[in-house]
Amino acid sequence: MAVFQLQQQWVDLISALFREEFLDSQFTQLQQLQDESNPDFVVEVVTLFFEDSERLLNDLCSTLHQRVVDFKKADAHVHQLKGSSASIGAQRVKNVCVSFRNCCEEGNLEGCLACLQQVKHEYTLLKSKLEALFALEQQIVAAGGSLPTM
């Protein structure tokens, strides 16, 4: 496929991500940090985020399924998840974390489980979209094109 069309797709995809509030301005800040001396910065940070999040989600799952639920522990996990999602601009994930923390503080198990479902859902969505974005970027670079610099 022509580089031009790939670039067009990239622009469309990323505009949709911002428009649908998957990402916010913090992500733009990350993009600005990427340059020739640091060409894979965004991918690296996001990959780190994926690893972190999957670990946290697993921990949350097991914490919430204990016989006696330790809400403080769950809260600490969610706090971490909220922090890292905010730092890469994962807006929707972060927003769910906010409600999630409220449920933890109230000791509301049902609410927590519902939030866990939701946050998993949002995370999975975001992950697949970002992976598609990075795949496009690789294709563009491989075809000799360049990404719009921030």
Partner: protein, 684 residues
């Protein structure tokens, strides 16, 4: 007399209430999130307040002028800059109507004697008033502001003969000395000071293609409260404007008239002159031969000017360019821009410098030309292809008011007789014609192909409506293209020929827009009430933290990585650890190391400050800070510690303070907030 006292005190009260509202709005901003509807409502409330203040001040001004109590301020300011600021603002408003608003520097005399002393505010009020009317009453076409300068003691400095009488009315006291010269004999004009000691006469025109004002209504237009109500479309406006404008202009020693336009041209042209003291070392250059610039029926435009002023234009521009050491030999300019008047202006000044210009309507044509050129270049090694200029075409079309015709492809490849080689290409591209991807591909194409044959530079024009992804080019200029931006293009051209075989520099030089694009109408008073939005960081501010050593304490990997990179990017050196205990150990060790060698005197600490996350395993931020404070007492130091929290709640602030931290920042870190915090700490 009583009326004016009543006005004054009522005005004072109204102003006080408005100030109250404005202050309360500012307070509201603090508790509102900037993206919300509430914030937008507050913005609108703010602009209403400012509008009210503007109207109030206009009303008070009128009464002052009528009572003969108006005083002019005297400040140093730059005329060209003032014009630019006003035109820029109206450019945005006019863009929505599809109008072109631009400032035409004519013979460039304004740029040469731009620094003056005078009443900047009132001058801008005059200009804004005229521009606002022009925009209001024009639905298509363009609005051009023209300006030029003369030395004030020239014989033809009066616009109308009525001016003398009115002028002396206002300044009754001073005029007594000049009673005997009330006749308009021009022989004695050099004895009479037509102005308040000003050195230069500035003449301005605001020319639009709008509704126009019928001849019989022209005189009454300047009376306050009268509005020309010819059409049944009901244009809004208090009509206060032109009366005030006339008063101010007269106060500044000049007058304002409505020029006749050429037959067949629609719209109105307001011409006014004022006198300002020049703060520049004057030279003979700025004097323009006056015979053509007389008060004549036609408005000033180059194509009807005599050859003398054409020469004047050329010499002014030559002065500007050679003083900057620009060699314009061999430069060709390819332009893809909109705007009839813009094209005319560029053609005038670049053409007079000897640069060949070629205008394009569409990107495809540009591509074709570039392809053909490179083909020709590689085919014939002996002679170089040349771009035939529009210059020769222009001279025969000078009397034609229409814009420069785009050239046919054949013209471009005519081998000109001159031996001049066109080694340099200057591209001026308007980003709003065409979409982003097309531009990116075109610039890529240039980089890959053209780069081998020519040195070239790219200037991109943008405005608030173009996408905010900047493309890689040599210079990005905000539209409209006038004044100081033209200067920037001149300096860019200077770079041609300085380094041979340089490839395109990919850095962006972004001009900081002076206003935010959200302003609809300008406040006449507070031009600085809205903070300008900066698209990209100014180059000099790219490394605000350079030279600083920072200790970062953060347990979440992602956050640590992002924060570290931010700080590194800003020029700092960063050491990161992932919990409070480690931080404490690092602090202890570095204090010991750094101070074991010192022989008394000041103790030092290798880190300028610490960024401390609050929630961490093993030892959290608060605990770590408390311990660090204990340790540093031994050395008599106070290390600035900034807390990083995810909360915005007030009790968090209390905890932070109790633990001994200096400031707290909310995650994720914004460099601007960090800089503010640093400044605060340094102050203490």
């Amino acid at each position: 007399m009583n009326k004016s006292i009543a006005f004054a005190s009522a005005g004072h009260d109204v102003r006080a209430s408005l100030a109250g509202i404005s202050g309360l709005i500012k307070l509201c901003y603090d508790v509102v999130s900037l993206d919300s509807d509430l914030a937008r409502n507050l913005d609108q409330m703010n602009s209403c307040v400012e509008k009210l203040l503007g109207i109030l001040n206009s009303v008070l001004d009128i009464s002052k002028v009528e009572a003969g109590k108006m005083h002019l301020e005297e400040v140093e300011f730059n005329v060209a800059q003032a014009i630019e600021e006003s035109v820029d603002i109206f450019h945005i408003v006019a863009l929505a109507k599809g109008l072109e608003v631009i400032w035409d520097p004519c013979d460039f005399s304004v740029l040469l004697s731009s620094n003056v002393r005078g009443d900047c505010l009132r001058f801008k009020q005059i200009l804004d008033n005229l521009l606002s009317n022009a925009v209001k009453f024009t639905s298509e076409g363009h609005i051009v502001v023209r300006a030029w300068v003369r030395n004030a003691n020239s014989k033809y400095s009066e616009l109308t003969s009525v001016q003398n009488c009115k002028f002396f009315d206002i300044f009754g006291g001073i005029s007594k000395c000049f009673q005997n010269t009330e006749d308009n004999s021009q022989k004695e004009s050099h004895d009479v000071i037509h102005h308040i000691g000003g050195d230069k006469e500035f003449i301005f025109e605001v020319d639009d293609t709008g509704m126009g004002i019928p001849t019989e209504k022209r005189a009454s237009v300047f009376e306050n409260y009268v509005q020309v109500k010819d059409s049944n479309l009901g244009y809004e406006g208090t009509g206060l404007g032109l009366g005030i404008v006339q008063s101010f202009v007269r106060l500044m020693g000049g007058d304002i008239i409505i020029q006749d336009k050429e037959p067949g041209e629609r719209g109105s042209c307001f011409r006014f002159n004022i006198y300002l003291k020049s703060s520049e070392i004057s030279s003979d250059n700025t004097e323009v031969e006056d015979s053509d610039l007389q008060k004549g029926p036609r408005s000033y435009s180059l194509h009807s000017a005599s050859s003398k002023s054409w020469l004047k234009l050329q010499s002014n521009i030559q002065n500007m360019s050679t003083s900057q050491g620009i060699n314009v030999d061999g430069i060709s300019c390819l332009l893809l821009i909109n705007g009839v008047e813009t094209k005319k202006i560029l053609q005038t000044w670049m053409g007079s410098l000897g640069i060949k210009l070629v205008f394009f309507q569409q990107l495809e044509n540009l591509y074709e030309i570039m392809k053909k050129i490179t083909q020709n270049y590689s085919n014939s090694s002996s002679s170089e292809p040349s771009l035939e200029s529009a210059n020769d075409e222009f001279s025969s079309h000078r009397d034609d008011n229409r814009h420069v015709l785009p050239l046919s492809l054949k013209d471009v490849f005519k081998r000109s007789g001159s031996r001049r080689s066109h080694k340099y290409l200057l591209f001026i591209l308007d980003l709003s014609s065409g979409n982003l991807q097309e531009w990116i591909s075109f610039l890529d194409y240039l980089r890959k192909r053209i780069h081998h044959f020519y040195q070239y530079k790219v200037v991109c024009l943008y405005d608030f409506s173009t996408s905010t992804f900047p493309v890689s080019c040599d210079l990005m200029l905000r539209k409209p293209l006038h004044g100081s931006r033209i200067h920037k293009i001149l300096s860019l051209m200077r770079e041609f020929g300085q380094k041979d075989g340089e490839s395109v520099v990919l850095s962006h030089i972004v001009e900081v827009p002076r206003i935010s694009s959200e302003i609809e109408t300008k406040s006449l008073l507070n031009s600085s009430s809205h903070k300008p939005e900066i698209l990209l960081q100014n180059f000099h501010e790219k490394l605000p933290l350079v030279g600083m050593n920072i200790l970062l304490v953060e347990d979440t990997d992602v956050l640590r990585m992002v924060a570290t990179n931010f700080l590194l990017r800003s020029g700092a050196t960063v050491k990161s650890v992932d919990n409070g205990l480690q931080a404490l150990n690092v602090v202890k060790m570095s204090l010991q190391e750094a101070n074991s060698v010192s022989t008394g005197g000041s103790k030092c600490f290798p880190f300028d400050f610490i960024l401390m996350d609050c929630q961490m395993p093993i030892m959290d931020g608060f605990e770590a800070t408390r311990c660090i404070r204990n340790v540093e007492k031994q050395y008599g130091l106070h290390i600035p510690i900034f807390a990083l929290t995810a909360y915005a709640e007030s009790d968090e602030a209390e905890k932070v303070r109790l633990a001994g931290m200096d400031f707290h920042l909310i995650k994720p870190i914004k460099i601007s907030k960090l800089l503010e915090a640093i400044k605060l700490v340094i102050k203490n």
